[in-house]
Symmetry: C2
Subunit: 348 residues, 2 copies
Amino acid sequence: MGFGEDNLRGVILALLSSGFIGASFIIKKKGLRRAAVSSGVRAGVGGYTYLLEPLWWVGMITMIVGEAANFIAYAFAPAVLVTPLGALSIIVSAVLAHFILKERLHKLGILGCVMCIAGSVIIVIHAPMELPITSVQEIWNMAMQPAFLLYVGSVIVLVFILSIHFAPRCGHTNVLVFTGICSLMGSLSVMSVKALGTSLKLTFEGKNQLIFPETWFFMLVVVTCVIIQMNYLNKALDTFNTAIVSPIYYVMFTTLTILASVIMFKDWEGQSGGMIISEICGFVVVLSGTILLQVTKDFERSTSFRGNHTPGSPSLSARLYNGNGELAKYCDEEVPPEEICLRIQESY
Amino acid sequence: MGFGEDNLRGVILALLSSGFIGASFIIKKKGLRRAAVSSGVRAGVGGYTYLLEPLWWVGMITMIVGEAANFIAYAFAPAVLVTPLGALSIIVSAVLAHFILKERLHKLGILGCVMCIAGSVIIVIHAPMELPITSVQEIWNMAMQPAFLLYVGSVIVLVFILSIHFAPRCGHTNVLVFTGICSLMGSLSVMSVKALGTSLKLTFEGKNQLIFPETWFFMLVVVTCVIIQMNYLNKALDTFNTAIVSPIYYVMFTTLTILASVIMFKDWEGQSGGMIISEICGFVVVLSGTILLQVTKDFERSTSFRGNHTPGSPSLSARLYNGNGELAKYCDEEVPPEEICLRIQESY
């Protein structure tokens, strides 16, 4: 298995990116907490004091650096390699949250981390080498293959059906509608980001690609896809719990991106069956690890919320009665609703 | 990656073995239930009526067939390949329990199954080929290598320390003592089973190995090790919960067996670094899947009761108060707790 220099660069950039993005969540959250302590108003209820908190801005910059590293990684290594490594940002943020924010990691969450790492190692070991690309026209020709055009066509049709027919009817009850739209668009975003990144890499290497209209077309596609993707991701996160949206989005987005990359860049051509199967298994393992980590984060939320609950914020208290009208459980302290649900489930 | 005919035979036998052993648990359990229904006394409280139940005997025979297949598998394929596939018996029994015994599988348990399968596939793809063995003396020479003798010596010393010093002091409070002894002995059992199996295979092929004292020595070692191992496994299961013992035992036993096999049979010689790392990752994934499956089996014990909600069973009604003590939401009817949670989330 040959592991080229470009793949190595791509992997290092992807790992750095995951490190920065993972850390940025923690820094921003610490910033939000500081802002809440100093003003008494939480961002969740409309406060904007966090904009005055330098730590929040440090987090924002860390995230931008991370996204930039991710963008450059796509210029060097295949999407089949870079995309699944994105899961490591979830590990970084879970581990940092454990140590810095004292949000205790559930034991099964640690297992999820171990799996993400094992799966990532398998993916990296079996990653395909990319054919060297020398001009943006080459990428353009790849994008114009009938198979990839069919993929793009299907994505556009599906996004239309989802956003016009399903979104108004069940977008607010079925988590798959908004998440589906942004995963479908996301796979096109990554392909165009990869095309644009490669063009810019070639430009920096002295082969100016900015003179070709294809480069500008890809830039337009990047902007369009990313805007649509972000718009629906925000809708999904506004409507549903992050702990539900994140794993579903991660699974769909990564799967579709790999599918798109395999069609467009023919990543799997020239690889043995065993290597392709190993990659898929590695990918399944990373997905499972991510799901496990996200699901158990929700288990643990009850205990971490209890710790840093700022006084004065809105919450509910509940009296729970059993079938005979007797008081079964009483939550007197002000606790967030998730916590009440957890206690209901526990007490039941 | 060459995948020899012997490895293929070994994998098929190991899979059959896992299927039989996994099914045997379910058949035996069904037999025990029938016996309990017909006599009113459960095996757990001292009843022996299950011995009159044919189904229990079918389960017992299924298990013996499975163990035999496992024994033969070791004669064909390296322990590095056969041992981790044993985890699949846990999947088989979990899936059959879901469908036949209606013991609902937790969603995370399904994730555990997926991981065990993905990890097993990775292990099978990267398994080393064994050097052909032509006589029991060859195995004897492998067992007499200084590195392996050092391993055997360490195991014996550790088992002595654990059973004489630790077992009386903390054997009943620390799960690692009994489980440790049977895992250590287990790794020697597998090595001697493999030696004996290979000798018998050669004998059946016409090269009689029964004339050599080494064959009989290995047989003696098999019997001794298996008796000690079973004795301490029973002690561990008697003292601690199966859900705790199983994953710990599986992890330690498999790890030590692979270590022993790598030392004695030099399984990893001639394999590339990438293949060895992939194997280890596959193994870690199978272990994680097994742990997840076992841990969540315990979760489900409480929630599965909730699933078949019989009418008249207790449910909850809730009064929810906001931060100021005002009544925010009132669920008067008896609704299942999930419904209350949904309403809380809606009202919030």
